[in-house]
């Protein structure tokens, strides 16, 4: 058997055992409890299209001063998830398009600064962003009402809560993802195509309408769907706003909450059914643009052309200075707020964090460093990150080489399977792993293996494999792109001289792929360290003790939920997380002597 065939089989084997098998157990659980599932669907908690659903969506609370309340319609868990994800995708695609267009097409003062600002929200501090927005939106003490009512003297207050607040948080969180993907789509269009249209008489607007936008549409559609999937899978924002019952009526939150019930021993098919709906929606969305987010498409991202640029028209200037700049500032605010929490004494009943000092910062860092449990959390994050990255690199290489060096339906299927985890919600993976691990450990009950495989005793194993599966597409993409750059003749010459493919891989391909392997590993590591879904579910199975399996993100959730001082600890842990990510980026940059940007 040749090396490519062996790689293909290895890729299939890994994905079958660690992706298809666990997911199929969810199907099985739903199929065996179909009657209970039917009862569930008919509950208005899950589907509600009665007029009642819109009653509290928007109203004015007649008190002094009056409060404009925006909560969004409550259509039941399933439809809520759909409308919020759609709303976030529409808003982010629209704003992301404007931002990307401005940066790709216009030459103006401050362009570099705008580009830099626009990518700041890519620095991920899970839960912290949502928490800061909650503080800003707080109807009584929040920054927004302080500005509107106290500073500007407007005769009303605003309350954005429940589902509307979740939608707002997610819109700010995922804007950079939309912007970066649309920017890539716009800059991929050969500028000559527009120039010819200009030369034949089309002005900027006409050339954009006739040439640029139709050609960039697949990329824009992909951005829309990616944001949709990220939003529907997000559990951080609903958790931060969970005090409001409406914010809990989302698929991701419900799967999470049912997962916890299951851990406590309350077995119900609802978790599996909701996970299945979440999975189905995400996969359906993903399939609609799969052509544009597959490995083969990604390879085209390498060739970024210098886009055709214009001097901004008066309308362009309005877009730049009155929309794009304020937009990126707004999108960066939560992160700035989150960092300021680390330096603040507290942020409770004031519109802004109180007493921002270096002393506070040092005190908060001291808390983290002195705590054995937090140190364990930091160790876990690094340990999981490195272990899962090692798995991703090995499996990713095998899949990438199979996809790049052979053709056929089975390769197309492997490509699809390796890219699919982008669309598989982390909570679904967590739930599927939990189900599978319980079954497997039960099968070996009473033996040492049974204990080792018990997720309640040793969730680390499942966490590491789960992370590797979830973030695998990013590593495979990086390596696949690199392999396309290496001409096949280089391998053929070595084979012709008598080497076998294993030797060729070791002596020719891997040395030439170093940059792609390291950059893929870096992207994978960074995404793993900030992963939320698996971390707060499987990661929390062992609880909070000195031998805890919780990584930093799980601790952040736990601390944000715990109260006043917990917030400072959570924010400081977030900063440690960012420091780990930046260290990894700097280390890789140093090794590769090159700069890195992150694009999906």
């Amino acid at each position: 058997m040749n090396f490519i065939k062996a790689s293909t089989i290895a890729g299939y084997a890994f994905l079958s055992v660690f992706l298809i098998l666990p997911l199929s157990l969810i199907f099985l659980q739903v199929a065996t409890s179909i009657r209970e599932v039917y009862n569930l669907i008919s509950d208005p908690f899950y589907f509600n299209l009665s007029p009642e659903a819109f009653r509290n969506a928007f109203f004015i609370r007649e008190i002094e001063p009056p409060v404009v309340v925006i909560r969004g319609p409550d259509l039941g868990v399933v439809l809520n998830s759909l409308w919020i994800a759609t709303w976030v995708a529409v808003i982010d695609t629209t704003l992301g398009f404007i931002l990307a267009y401005v940066l790709a097409k216009y030459v103006f003062r401050g362009r570099t600064a705008l580009g830099l600002l626009a990518t700041i929200p890519l620095i991920v501090m899970p839960f912290a962003t949502a928490y800061v927005i909650r503080k800003i939106l707080d109807p009584q003490w929040g920054t927004l009402n302080w500005v509107l009512h106290e500073v500007l003297g407007l005769p009303f207050r605003v309350e954005i809560s429940g589902l509307a607040a979740v939608a707002l948080v997610q819109s700010l969180m995922y804007l950079p993802i939309a912007y970066l993907n649309i920017y890539a789509a716009l800059t991929r269009v050969d500028p000559t195509l527009e120039e010819v249209a200009n030369n034949l008489g089309a002005d900027e607007g006409r050339a954009a309408r006739d040439i640029l936008i139709p050609l960039a549409t697949p990329g824009v559609a992909a951005a829309f769907v990616l944001v949709f999937i990220f939003a529907i899978d997000d559990v951080a924002a609903p958790i931060i706003f969970q005090d409001d019952p409406a914010a809990r009526k989302l698929l991701a939150y419900q799967v999470y909450s049912k997962f916890l019930d299951q851990v406590r021993g309350q077995i119900s098919p609802a978790a599996a059914f909701l996970a299945l709906i979440l999975l189905t929606i995400s996969i359906a969305a993903f399939l609609s643009v799969r052509r544009y987010v597959g490995l083969r498409q990604y390879a085209m991202l390498i060739r970024q052309l210098r886009p055709k640029s214009y001097k901004p028209s008066p309308l362009g200037k309005v877009l730049i200075y009155l929309l794009a700049f304020p937009l990126v500032v707004a999108a960066s605010t939560p992160l700035v707020g989150a960092i300021s929490l680390v330096f603040a004494e507290r942020w409770t009943i004031t519109p802004l964090p109180e007493s921002i000092t270096l002393e506070n910062f040092l005190r908060h860092v001291g808390w983290i460093v002195e705590s054995e449990v937090f140190r364990r959390g930091i160790f876990n994050t690094i340990y999981y990150g490195i272990s899962a990255t090692a798995i991703m690199v090995i499996v990713g290489f095998l899949i990438a080489i199979a996809a790049a060096r052979s053709r056929g339906v089975h390769i197309e299927a492997l490509d699809a399977l390796a890219t699919a985890p982008i669309a598989i919600p982390g909570l679904v993976v967590a739930y599927a792993y939990f189900l599978t691990s319980l079954q497997i450990s039960a099968a070996f009950k009473g033996t040492v293996l049974g204990d080792v495989l018990n997720p309640l005793q040793h969730p680390e194993l499942y966490l590491i494999v789960g992370y590797a599966v979830r973030k695998l597409p990013f590593v495979v993409r990086s390596m696949y792109a690199g392999l396309l750059q290496i001409h096949k003749s280089m391998e053929e010459v070595a084979l012709n001289l008598g080497d076998n493919y294993r030797g060729v891989s070791r002596k020719i391909l891997i040395p030439l792929l170093t940059t792609n392997i390291l950059s893929g590993a870096l992207i994978g590591f960074v995404y793993i360290t900030s992963e939320v879904s698996l971390s707060i579910t499987l990661g929390a199975l062992k609880g909070v003790g000195v031998d805890t399996a919780m990584p930093i993100t799980a601790f952040m959730k736990e601390r944000f939920e715990s109260g006043v001082y917990g917030v400072q600890e959570a924010a400081t842990l977030g900063l440690v997380l960012v420091a780990i990510q930046i260290s990894a980026i700097m280390l890789t940059t140093r090794v590769l002597k090159t700069r890195y940007g992150f694009v999906l």
Binding site: T192, L193, E195, V196, A197, N199, L200, G201, D203, I211
Partner: protein, 342 residues
């Protein structure tokens, strides 16, 4: 019917790269002018400035007496055919060709008539509904040409339009392009780095290097009367010898390059000067003459033979229809024409 005139045209890119350096040039009405030069010589920049796709740093561009320097590309009524052809992949052949007409808001009937006419002219009738990727390279090139010609531009600007095609097709298409441009009497600028293509297509050639125009003339002029050393070595296949002028007899300089050679003296060449002597391969006759050389190698090139010679310490290459000597043999050669440049 347009005369294109550029005066002191200059283009400096960000970072201070001078792409065009005070270029003066006139392209006559209905003339095909080839911009010829090596990569980076500024020929594409010149074309883009005339098209209005780039802004000039300094200088003026006139179409007849109209100053179009500040006019946006949309208003210049030029038509560009880029090297990549830039066919819009999401449009059919018909839509690609009709695009410029639609911008000019002509009637649907007129649009159909003109698209049909131009597709017939380029030999693509019946291909209207195809997408660009369903066409061969040559057909795509014709669509790009049709799209440019259908708007009846004042100036047609072709940027290495045949660069992506194989050699045989290039020869066919360059003849066709010339025929069509002449038939429609469009003032045409044809940028290429292929001298044979430039010679075959152009009424006149502007040879460019380092952002400057080195010489403008008919193909025969630039070939037989190169204005400077660059043109002499760039056009045709040449030997370059270095030597000292020992005597000057009128317009002829006698140069010692290891042996004595009589060369046409370019401006300023005087006795005692060290000069470069350019000898075209076809100007060395092997098999008779006064200069004794040793044949190092003879190579059959298909139509001609190339002979590598060692003559008085110099290595020379000659091209002729027959091989007059074999490798290792001694032979006599005659240098029929040489030019000396300072």
């Amino acid at each position: 019917m347009t005369i294109v005139k550029v005066e002191k045209l200059r283009k400096v890119y960000d970072g201070g790269v001078v792409a065009l350096d005070d270029v003066d040039l006139t392209i006559n009405d209905g003339e095909i002018l080839a911009g010829l030069g090596p990569s980076g010589c500024g020929k594409t920049t010149l074309l883009r400035l005339i098209a209005g796709l780039e802004d000039a740093t300094a200088g003026r561009i006139y179409f007849d007496d109209r100053d179009v320097t500040k006019l946006p590309t949309q208003q210049r009524n030029t038509a560009v055919v880029p090297q990549t052809w830039a066919l819009w992949p999401h449009m059919s052949v018909y839509d690609n060709v009709a695009y410029g007409l639609r911008l000019r808001k002509i009637s649907r009937e007129e649009e159909r008539r003109r698209v049909k006419e131009i597709l017939e002219l380029v030999g693509l009738e019946g291909f209207e509904k195809r997408r660009p990727y369903q066409l061969s390279g040559g057909q795509q090139q014709r669509v790009a040409l049709a799209r440019a010609l259908v708007v009846q531009p004042e100036v047609l600007l072709l940027d290495e339009p045949l660069a992506n095609l194989d050699a045989k097709l290039r020869v066919e298409l360059r003849e066709e392009i010339k025929k069509i441009a002449k038939k429609l009497s469009i003032t045409t600028i044809y940028v290429t780095h292929d001298q044979e293509e430039a010679m075959a297509v152009a009424d006149r050639i502007a040879v460019m290097n380092l952002g400057k125009i080195m010489q403008v003339g008919t193909p025969e002029e630039v070939y037989y009367k190169p204005a400077n050393l660059f043109v002499a070595t760039f056009i045709g296949r040449t030997n370059l010898l270095r030597g000292k002028v020992v005597e000057k007899r009128g317009e002829v300089a006698v140069v010692d390059v290891g042996f004595l050679i009589e060369a046409e003296a370019s401006d300023g060449v005087k006795p005692g000067d060290y000069v470069n002597v350019v000898v075209k391969l076809e100007d060395i006759y092997v098999g008779g003459g006064r200069l004794k050389c040793v044949v190092e190698d003879v190579t059959f090139l298909g139509r001609t033979y190339q002979t590598t010679l060692k003559c008085g310490g110099n290595k020379l290459k000659a091209e002729g229809l027959k091989p007059h000597a074999a490798g290792g043999e001694e032979t006599y050669v005659e240098i029929t024409r040489a030019i000396a440049y300072k």
